[in-house]
Amino acid sequence: MTHAPERITLEEWDVQYEKLHRAGMREPRYGGPLSRHVEDGDHRLGRLRYDNSAAALRLWNFLLTEEDRLHEARAAGNKIVGTMKDLGTVPVMAYCFDNVTAFYPDGAWWIPCVMEGSDGSLEVADSLGIDESFCPVRAMLGAFVTGAHFPIPDMLICSVGATCDDFSAIAQRLNGLGHPIFWWEIPHRRCPERDEAGVILPGGLTAPKSQVEFVESELERVKAALEELAGARLDDERLSAGIAQANRVRQYLAELRNLAFTAERCPLPALEMLIAEMLAIHFCSDRPETIAVLGELLEEVKVRANAGLGVLDAGAARIFWVNPVADLQVMNLLEDCGGRVCGTEYLFTHALDAIPQDVPPLEALARCALADPMAGSSIDRAERICADVRRFGAEAVLISRIPGASHCALEGQVISEVVAEQLDIPVLEIEVPPVTDSMSATLRTRLEALVETARCRRRTTQGIRRSG
């Protein structure tokens, strides 16, 4: 740590960049000032506030250069695999091959936000019949059609079944446009019947052994397809080594989350934490570099937490955030309103839990895939949220709905009711479209009110404790 931690603007980052350089900062080859990405069309960056550490700069640059890395991988002769919908299982397999680079096309849902709609990807999706009644992940369709972002993959793999209805429809449309997809099925997770053998999944969930076996057989098919593409075998030893590397990422993230969400003062802003967590599911197309980026970030956070330093006021209201936001600026807004993120559930908690290493590797991945929050009931998800709210000491829950996402219409109320019943803390639902500028005032009111409510209840609780 070379500077007192704070949140700074993009303009301030230019000054900070020079300071860090003069102080001897060493950057990876994808390094450089953040503002250069605005010149590439990422206009939203100019409105965000960032952590001022060199580690955060590296994280941002790593994220914002992924398309370059994918094009370089293609030029180097690597096979490019798009792993869709599945969050965090197939990439673990794909990165076991030396000549395969996997990425997460669904991540294109942030393009309309980062480019403030200037890319036209949503309009392309509209013209293909996938309009705003679908989740903004439909931007992926536009990205495939324009080819302006990532290289068209050599292979597309997509999970289907108990996944997102919107995404299934969008992926089917993509398939129909001449992008063949290798489908694998994930069943709706259920509890074992009385006479069925059960298996413990990551996160403490259970599923019938037959379901785990079925998913394992599906992943066996995926593995065979990847082997054919790569022209190499993927044996258990190699897959186990890949799982161990994925678990290093997950271990770093577990430590990072624990520190960031429980430290007395918030050591890392919510936005950087969101990006760090997303690395768990796709490695940003470079697994070894993901480990290095997260390692540096973790060191920075450790130093800050140990020194009692943070980027926000000590009294910030502790908010648990449910679902990723289409507009990154809303993460800043919560902090501007006096809140801090203490716990998250971005629909991929199963990708943050360690993959079992004491069972055959494909079975381990099957267990992991079945633990996907979207593969189970909303009640399961709500229970996990409650457990994590308790663990991180959050004072309120914020559920950000994704407009058009069918699951959001159903699960918000279920989560609200379970949280209210088990924890009796305030829950707020907001809806966040890809660009929120016109509604920032109304969003601010809601977030400020949530922060006021959490703080007021904190004072009441402290008062009761004192008088007791």
Partner: protein, 262 residues
């Protein structure tokens, strides 16, 4: 000394002056909102002070609330309307457990604990279909004033089913209903029932009584009945329902003053 609350809402600005110690109301006023929000708020504030024989020097603390709260430069601080309505209602109706506030451009439901603190809240965030805007559009389309809506609704025998979730499309529906010969009284009753239904949807499964209704829409006759029917519970309109947010802001200003001088 006086403490002031200014509620800069979407349709109107409200000013409430209270005695800092006794919390008794010493002055109040209301004006239409406009583009120059700060200027309008300042002008109203001065007018209310003057009409009560006070000057700016008599005012010890000012809290602004409402959508335009950040535009009120004279305020010492801002607090959201959720908290302010809760405080205002608790002051007027201490036993209240639920506040339903329907304003010009939004509606909210606030749950209170026994001490009047906000336990939880929900706000409509999709369109104006659950707000006063819906009633304004309806009144304009039917060629009547807002004050006539209640009388019309009371004469309804078969409220029209308004299916749209959007004010713009609902207006089209109203046009269609008129073309089909549906009576104005049935259309108004249908619109009021639709607004009430949206509030119930926002409330989820639990609405704890006593329920207090605030905001400008609480003054539109017929809305309380529509809410009671939809909720299946008694609903009480707060005294001067438009002023509750400003009153809460003034009380919070007084509280801040006491804390600062303690």
């Amino acid at each position: 000394m006086i403490c002031a609350g200014i509620d800069a809402g979407s349709r109107t600005i409200k000013v409430m002056l209270i005695d800092a110690d006794s919390l008794e109301i010493v002055g109040k006023g209301l004006a239409d909102q406009g583009v120059e929000q700060d200027k309008l708020a300042t002008s109203l504030f001065r007018r209310v002070l003057k009409s009560n024989g006070a000057t700016g020097k008599d005012v010890a603390a000012i809290v602004a609330t409402g959508y335009g709260r950040n535009a009120v430069n004279m305020a010492d601080t801002t607090i959201t309307e959720i908290t302010c309505h809760a405080v205002g209602v608790h002051h007027l109706v201490p036993e209240a457990h639920t506040v339903i506030d329907i304003g010009g451009q939004d509606s909210k439901l606030v749950r209170l604990d026994g001490a009047g603190k906000v336990r939880d809240f929900a706000m409509n965030d999709r369109c104006a279909a659950g707000t006063g805007r819906f009633l304004e559009v309806t009144a304009r389309r039917l060629g009547v004033g807002l004050d006539a809506l209640g009388r019309l609704a009371a004469g309804s025998r078969r409220p029209a089913a308004i299916s749209s979730m959007c004010v713009v499309f609902a207006e089209t529906e109203i046009t269609g209903l008129l073309a089909c010969g549906t009576g104005r009284e049935d259309i108004v009753a249908g619109v009021q029932a639709a607004i009430a239904a949206r509030i119930v949807g926002m409330a989820g499964r639990s609405v704890e009584p006593p329920i207090v209704f605030t905001g400008g829409v609480a003054m539109v006759s017929g809305m309380t009945t529509a809410l009671q029917t939809a909720l299946g519970q008694a609903v009480t309109v707060a005294p001067e329902p438009q002023m509750t947010g400003a009153l809460g802001a003034a009380i919070l200003a007084s509280k801040r003053l006491r804390e600062a001088t303690a």
